[in-house]
């Protein structure tokens, strides 16, 4: 089914290209990014030396239709490998009542900053956890429609393509977790390629006074596989049988607005996963985040967030929750201090951190972004990890990095 939809999409795009009488404008744009990361501890190995070309082809034809294709062509100098990935390729149709987007797309849900429990429609590729979130996301084929009724907007999504979160391999120094005695995880058992196994979601939004509000519902699959163990009577120990995905429902809500001089937002997601009897499946559990920001008179902007997962029935830390926010944390806070400077505030200095409250670990990332010319920016930064070995950041204690990243947009 996935191939069928992609084929249909390509056909529609080819048709549009060939019908010159209808087409109005095309635009090719993108960026070239060079990113080099070096481990700061001896022997100062290179972690990454990557060239990434982003290409976006956009077109509008008529007043109500447009399409966009976004692809990343990546060359990793260390691996010597090229990779060309179409993150998005979709067609938009706009009308008075409904806007429709059909094709491979990235859907961003949630009003919190980066940590979005409800943002589960596109799984993330976590092989580089310091990558920008919008690039980490894996585009999937879906039909999205936005219906407007008075002050309400109803977003209805039918996702016919499934994929799961990609995590670093267990033998990598970036492994998010390790299972003793196991170096490579078996291939998971994916949901079947049937229409009844596709996913769907709804979100109802509106603005009331100074607040944007929404409630959402998702019915689909867990985006992290569950480890299914059986007891090996000969070895007298548990044996990993398979990795399996279970059906999951999510009820979500979020808000964003301002109170007095503070920006304020919150987001919550309540997950219900099938197979309640399995001891390695958390069911149900709640993730929520609340946050606030404030801008001082000198232009320094501070942003604080608190995140927590509440899972009363099962507290096994081996179980990884849905990763709407990218990292498997249970209770954490984030902080971001940002100051723009320069004649037109073209440069910025930023300090970002995540403090793992439960396991006592810290990710600390100061960076300086300079933009000497329009469409060109260069970023210098450090990514530092601290904490107890039980914490995810503590495990990365020897992975501190220095990096330089430059981007030219065209």
């Amino acid at each position: 089914m996935r191939r069928l939809f992609l084929l249909s999409l390509v056909q529609v795009i080819l048709f549009v290209f060939s019908s010159e009488a209808v087409a109005q404008s095309y635009e090719l744009r993108g960026s070239l990014r060079e990113w080099v990361k070096v481990f700061s501890q001896s022997p100062n190995e290179l972690d990454m030396a990557e060239t990434r070309l982003k290409l976006e082809l956009l077109s509008t034809f008529g007043e109500n239709t447009s399409f966009k294709v976004k692809s990343y062509c990546t060359y990793g100098a260390i691996s010597g490998q090229n990779n060309w990935n179409f993150q998005e390729a979709f067609i938009d149709y706009y009308s008075d009542l409904v806007d429709v987007r059909f094709g491979k797309q990235v859907i961003a849900w949630g009003k919190a900053d980066e940590i979005n429990p409800t943002d589960i429609l596109n799984p993330q590729d976590l092989s580089n956890i310091s990558e920008e979130k919008n690039i980490r996301k894996i585009g999937l084929t879906a039909l999205k429609s936005n219906w407007r009724f008075s002050e309400y907007v109803l977003e209805a999504i039918w996702k016919m393509e499934y994929d799961n979160v990609k995590i670093p391999s267990m033998d990598s120094r970036w492994a998010l977790f390790k299972i003793p005695g196991l170096e490579v995880l078996p291939d998971p058992e994916y949901p079947q390629n049937r229409i009844q196994d596709t996913e769907w979601a709804l979100k109802l939004s509106r603005t009331i006074s100074l607040f944007d509000l929404s409630v959402s519902y998702f019915e689909g699959w867990d985006n992290m596989a569950t480890l299914i163990f059986s007891f090996d009577p000969i070895a007298q120990q548990p044996k990993l049988d398979e990795l399996k995905f279970f059906r999951t429902k999510m009820i979500g809500a979020d808000f964003a607005g301002s109170v007095s001089s503070f920006g304020l937002w919150g987001e919550a997601a309540y997950f219900i996963t099938e197979n309640n009897d399995d001891p390695l499946i958390k069911n149900p559990y709640l993730q929520y985040v609340i946050g606030s920001d404030y801008t001082f008179n000198n232009g320094v902007k501070i942003n604080l967030q608190y995140f927590q997962e509440i899972n009363k029935e099962k507290s096994d830390e081996v179980i990884v929750s849905k990763l709407g926010f990218g990292l498997p944390l249970k209770q954490a806070s984030t902080f971001r201090l940002e100051k723009k400077f320069g004649e037109i505030e073209e440069h910025s200095v930023e300090i970002f951190g995540i403090y793992d409250i439960q396991d006592q670990g810290l990710l600390f990332q100061p960076k300086l972004i300079l933009s000497p010319e329009d469409a060109f920016a260069v970023e210098f930064g450090l990514i530092l990890y601290y904490g107890k070995k039980e914490s995810i950041f503590g495990r990365f204690d020897s992975n501190d990095q220095v990096y330089i990243k430059s981007t030219y947009s065209f």
């Binding site: 744009r29 960026s31 956009l58 077109s59 509008t60 447009s66 399409f67 966009k68 938009d92 706009y94 008075d96 806007d99 990235v106 961003a108 849900w109 949630g110 009003k111 920008e132 919008n134 936005n146 407007r148 907007v153 603005t207 006074s209 100074l210 944007d212 964003a256 607005g257 301002s258 007095s260 001089s261 503070f262 920006g263 304020l264 920001d293 404030y294 801008t295 008179n297 232009g299 902007k301 723009k340 004649e343 037109i344 505030e345 073209e346 329009d374 469409a375 060109f376 920016a377 981007t407 947009s409 065209f410």
Partner: protein, 258 residues
């Protein structure tokens, strides 16, 4: 013949009296009435234009932004950045109300979602220009106290000079704003913005042109006197009363491909 001459003289006298009365009436206007007239001035029902934003630093280096903008009365405005490439796709929506703060949203393609601009961040710069988000919005009449401080000419245009001071509950970056309002059409041709310490911070100069039956801005220049930096906005391809649909001013339009 005598009757005609008498009638013409009568009409001329009536016209002179009317003009005299209008001048007298204008002379008697209070600062609040002037601002009220300014607020109720005749403006296009809607306006579309392309905006070229030149950001000029103290050394004369220029960075340029190109935008497309739609406006409905003074209450609704949506704009899309067309150039340069690193900000293309960024869009901004403002909705003003009589009884509460403006709503503002911004769409940044890198995040893929529309974000509300909280009221406190309105003192921040609008996309690196010398305009703040607050400057992009409308001031509420009732939020300020007004005082007519003098009358002055700007480029041969006779103006009232009105000082606006914010009420204590108003969130603003300024301690006062002084406006030069053209007597003929109640248009603000110049504004001076004073910081919280009472120092002159920024000066805005507006040049108007007549499009169809309306006076509309042709260029707006905001200069920051502290940084010696200025932003010049030039309006082109101006069209008025095009029958723009109100649905354009919805947040879903921010994400549309232009």
């Amino acid at each position: 013949m005598k009757k005609i001459i008498t009638m013409m003289l009568g009409l001329a006298l009536f016209a002179v009296m009317q003009t005299f009365n209008e001048v007298k009436a204008q002379e008697k206007l209070t600062a609040y009435q002037i601002i009220e007239h300014w607020d109720n001035r005749t403006i296009p029902l809607d306006m579309t234009s392309q905006m070229t934003m030149n950001m000029i630093d103290k050394n004369g280096k220029v960075r340029t932004r190109l935008l497309k903008t739609y406006r409905m009365s003074d209450d609704k405005q949506i704009m899309w950045f067309l150039k340069p490439s690193d900000v293309k796709g960024t869009s901004f929506l403002r909705m003003s109300y009589d009884d509460r703060d403006d709503d503002m949203w911004i769409y940044l393609p890198a995040f893929g979602k529309v974000r509300r601009i909280a009221s406190h961040t309105k003192k921040g710069s609008f996309m690196g220009t010398d305009f703040t988000f607050e400057d992009m919005g409308n001031r509420k009449l009732k939020d300020y106290n007004y005082q007519l401080i003098k009358e002055e000419e700007i480029n041969g245009k006779s103006c009232w000079v009105v000082e606006s001071m914010p009420g204590k509950d108003v969130i603003t970056d300024y301690s006062k704003i002084v406006s030069w309002i053209w007597k003929e059409d109640y248009i603000d041709l110049k504004e001076e913005y004073f910081d919280k310490k009472g120092n002159l911070k920024k000066v805005k100069i507006v040049e108007m042109i007549n499009v169809e039956k309306y006076w509309v801005p042709n260029s707006v220049t905001m200069e920051n006197l502290k940084t010696k930096h200025k932003t010049e906005i030039i309006f082109e391809e101006i069209m008025v009363d095009t029958g723009l649909d109100e649905k354009v001013f919805k947040s879903n339009y921010l994400t549309r491909i232009n």
